[in-house]
Amino acid sequence: MSLIVRLAAVALTAAFCGGCVTARVEEIREGHTEMAAGDTIAVLGRRERPSAAETELDFVDCVSKNMGGGDGVSVIPDRTFRDTLFPWFEPRTAPTNTRDLPDLIGHPTFIERLNSLGIKYLVWIEGSTRRTDSAGTMSCTISPAGGGCFGFLTWENDSEYEASIWDIKQRRTVGKVSSDAVGTSYMPALIVPVPIIARVKNSACTSLADQLKIFLTAES
């Protein structure tokens, strides 16, 4: 069997088997939650100091949009919330745990603004998506007469995120929801690369957002 046929077979196998994502969601409830009319939540990514870790902005936006879509809950996006409550949620000043909340709530202007927004819960998202494995080679050539690629690449991504839900009025953590997703992507190339991408981060996002909606709105 020629190399071209073998590569095509690998690409076809990858198309059927690759791009699959395995996602797992877990929830820990520590307190009662409910959302009344007019209640809003803020979804925020962790980026305080001195930690070097930072949750991706597109992931935080994705969770916000998925929680707010359809018959979802009312959500204030990260940047809007930080601007509205500036400078209390900057990397220099953001509360790192619920013990810091009383200091913040002691400022009358702060609590007044928080109430006007109807914020009931803060959802802090930590975590990231990492490439955990990769294999294969691909070489590409470009010349004035044309170009092309030849080879096969595969890689595995792992998304691990955890959302902590703070109740502003009770000043305590009411629960945590975590979402882990793993998936392998493939890219066979026979002149033109054909990426077969496992949407790992997107899967972790939708799983987390769906579970957060259930957590906040379900009777507990």
Partner: protein, 206 residues
Amino acid sequence: MNSTPRHVRGWVFALLLALGACASPKISMEGSFPIPLVNQYPVTVGWVLDEELLAFTHSEKVDRGSEWVIKIGTVQQAMFDSLSKGMFKSHVFLKEEKAEPPVTVIFVPSIEELQFSTPAQTRSKYFEVWIKYKFKLLNADGSLRGEFPLTAYGKAHTQNYSLNTTTSALEEATNAACRDAMAFFALQFRTLPPVKTWLDEEGLGG
């Protein structure tokens, strides 16, 4: 009739692509800043933003030759305007270092130093920016009350900027440093030695 041979056009296109990839970043900060949510001091203050501050540009050669340029003077007035709207009853921008009542004190900020680092330099995934300010605090008649430094820091992760990564991430890191300067000024204001003395004299020391 187009007489340019096809292979020449191909090489020109490849050369333009290569030049585009090597272009050194030049950013000019623009935009507005949020008004800080803090208790307002019932005083009128003055700001003197001199030409040097308003035109402040940092240029630095990185990676053997390419020059990186950050124009940050362009947003200084917007920064101090938003800051003052949140912190003081009213404020004015002055052309000289003296003012008539109701202005009680005058702030004269200057940028002493700006530094930045790239992911390649720090072996991280962050662009980082440090800005070192110096503030003079003057009485309304122009006499010096004191000075205080302010160091601000901002970073931006490359993962958040998939297109035009360098320029966008450096711009965001600079923006984050400007916001950090505002946050420091708004929240540490009453603890700064010359400011504390002035607030105590005004009966605003709390």
